[in-house]
Amino acid sequence: MKRVHDAISWGSRLLTLLRRGRRARDIDDEIAFHLAMRQAEHERAGLPPEIARRTAARQFGNVTALKEQTRDMWTFPSFESLVRDLRYALRTLRRAPAFTLVAVLVLAIGIGATTAMFSLVDTMLVRGLPYPKADRLVVLIGNVQRAAGVERRGNSYPDHVDWRARATSFDDMAAYTTLNTTLQGSDEPEPIPSEAVSAPYFSLLGVSPTHGRVFRPEEDAVPNRDAVTILGDGLWRRRFGADPSIVGRTIQLGTRAYTVVGIMPAGFTGVSDTAQLWIPFAISGTPLDNRGSRGFQTLARLKAGATIADARAELDTISRQLAAAYPQTNDKRGVEVSPLADYVLQQLRPIVVALMAAVSLVLLIACANVAGLLIGRADARQREIAVRTALGAGPGRLLRQLITENCLLAMLGAFTGMAIAQISLPSLVAASPIAFPTFVRPQLSLTVLAFGIAIALVSGVLLGIAPMMHTRLPRLGDALKTSSRGGSSGLRSQRFRSVLVIVEVALAVVLLAGAGLMIRSIQKLAAIDPGFEAANVLMVNATIPRQTTLPATPGGPAAPPAPFVTSHTDLLERLRAVPGVEAASLASDLPFGGASAVFYSAEGDATVAAETMPRAYVHRVTPEFFATLRIRLEAGRTFLPAEEKPDSPAVIVSHNVTRRFWPHQDPIGKRIKLGAPGSQNPWMTIVGVVDEVKYRGLPENPTGDPDLYLPYIDRAAQGVVVRTRVEPSSLASAVRAAIRDGNASILTFNASTLADVVAQQSSASRFTSWLLTVFAATALVLSVVGLYGIMSYLVAQRTREFGIRLALGASRAEIVRRVLRDGTWRVAIGAAIGLAATTGLARLLAGLVYGVGTFDISSLLAVATLVVVAIAACGIPAVRATRVDPAIALRSE
């Protein structure tokens, strides 16, 4: 009831605020009516009009004052006084410029950092993906039930077609995969990050081309028929001068001419977020008729009313039907339905959430800090407050004044902070070692602005209440008397100050410990032995074309392959001749470059269950590959040059293969083959065993499957690995030149050092740790400054007491001990609480740290650091206390 009341009354007041003029006129009219009626009555009683009018007015009272009072009933009584309060607050802050500057800066750090982080949260987690109704978009990823758990795989085209035909919970589905295309036509062919997509892809995402059209359904139904392509806006501007007439003309991609049919709008880079060019899915090289060949993903839009759970249930049913119909390829196969936003942002979310939590702690410390400053000021202003109380200001009025002042302070801080965030955030995102999606362009949106202002107001109110809590409002006269004596503000204020110190220390400990955990985690990551030596290794991707290109007949069989323009042995010769190169080798795929798994079988092993069917990653490598990367050969030998042919029976396996099948036997000479035991593939003989290496991911390979190495054969896509005697990046251009050997049709790209690629693997950890360290350092500085301020203040207040003690013979050392003890117990309690709270932050970081528990030696180190610094901060005021001349101290008050 009461609430309804309030709502009505506030509502009508608010309306009044908007329509003040009308309300005032209404009140005038109403009162005029009253006066007229009364005057008429007097006139009827026989009074002359003028006297009747004056009598009526007298009876009514003070017309102007009453009108005003009536109007006030409708307005917020505080509205007009708010302006007064603000003006007063401005004057007060201007009178204490040092205090204002420090407080505004501290708040700017806290609010600025929080707002900056929030704008990341806003763009990534709140606003989400830049597609219409993006929450209805899902990604379907084929998975497989293995003994180790469910593993993500990919989709095969026949499965995709069946899902699309049978599932009813979707508007439509589109297959998509990423690839590099080679754009010819300038001096050097350029690799273009591209996507091969089926026709519904663009309409699912809700984008339409700025020129031309999207793909037609028939263009992805027949393999190799329609060589059409769609250009991204960036590529179109960069390479084709933004010429709209390119639509309808052909461009050369790799060895084939493609007709440009459309241009995508600026900013659209596909689901992969990197694509600058699109080709029909049917032309991507993905086998369209092999149900067992899985690799791509399916984008789908949920039908209106269908939930993710519906879609999952339906696809589960379809998967079971497919498994029954095609047990060879679909046994234990399922489909993961993942919202697109989860799929895109999955890895970034926990980082952003952890950092948001950390930055909120910085804000809390900043507030505690400014609260400490304000308490000092509140004491200094005791007298002013007393005077205002004496002049009739009520406690509510005073509180309002204080809150106004602090909100103003917080607002100044907020706007300074937001300005700093605004300037620094884009460069922060750009410099970030983790790749943010391109749509994450943090900017000052209304939401972020509102958030900044909201936290400023909350901080302001909290800051206003803080000093009020500790100074009981002085009774009239009391304060006037005590303040002239400069008395201490009493036990209550001391206790409040202690709480502030404890809170600041506790928060700083949490942040330091969090940063400590991340740093330890990075140390552990760096200490991982990947099984190879990453230093001094340069890697380059190369694409070697074939000598002549025979035109492919649409829909017809592929032409017999022509030889490559250079053989891999010639290529290796040229690489070894580059000065500074110690060893050179080639691989079908480079470390962390992505490889696909195949099933294999060991002779004599009868495993048939899909969950435990042996699976491995296959790489074709030249004989020096292991020496170049310094991968240890456990047994046997590397390949012989004679073995470098497609049907060679030699294979080198990694340790886990022998551990699984021949744990106590000599593996050399044992035989394995690719595919199921019954497959027609030839047996291969193990000639060597190498250590397990982290070929596919750090800190761990995504799955525990071993690696199989086969002899190298000439191929189009080559991974070049070079061990150098000098800084590897300095050889990049020489190595690229050696690969190309003057042949413009050879493409080299992605030259990078292995050390950089390894570092990239832990970039998320390093980014988080770097930011957390910045936050923790800020927290440390803020809390130590706050502690110093509060301890100085406490010491200053006790100057008189110390004077007396010294006069009575206390030693200076005793005074120092006393002050230090005072500071130390507060720091100790804060540190203990912080340490306990550390587990909370550690849980947030759990997904981001490697090899570190929630409690680590680094937490203790963090506490130790803080305690030492904090006690030092107490030490300075302590020493100052001993410099007190007893006589002066006693007189000083």
Binding site: H5, D26, I27, E30, F33, Q59
Partner: protein, 126 residues
């Protein structure tokens, strides 16, 4: 002279304009207004006249004080208002009781009865 809270004071007729005032109990004016309005729609002037008439001019409400009180009641949602024509065909603002106001009046009246009878008992026995 005016109590800000009640916006009302008791002024014996004979002392009109004199400085001696006695405060009406807080909230009393509100109750009187609600009571008068419980009989039907009325404008401000009518409410004052009704109170004066019904109290045999003992309760001399300072007339202007009625308006802040009326508007306070309106903000609170206890009375509603609309503009209409008076008996002599002038534009006047008419007030009527809302459901909320009616309930409030019952509560106020019950409370007043209890207090008044208690005060009376004390005055007679002590």
């Amino acid at each position: 002279m005016l109590d800000k809270q009640t916006g009302c004071s008791i002024i014996p007729k004979s002392f009109m304009g004199a400085q001696e005032t006695r405060e009406l109990l807080p909230g009393t004016l509100d109750m009187l207004i609600l009571k008068v309005l419980s009989r039907g729609e009325m404008h401000g002037y009518g409410i004052v006249s009704a109170i004066q008439r019904a109290s045999d001019d003992v309760l001399g409400v300072v007339e202007g004080a009625l308006y802040p009180a009326l508007h306070r009641l309106e903000v609170r949602g206890w009375v509603r208002s609309k503009w209409g024509a008076s008996d002599n065909n002038r534009r006047a603002k008419f007030y009527r009781l809302s459901a909320l106001g009616r309930r409030a009046l019952e509560e106020e009246a019950a409370y007043w009865d209890r207090v008044a009878s208690a005060v009376t008992r004390v005055m007679q026995r002590a």
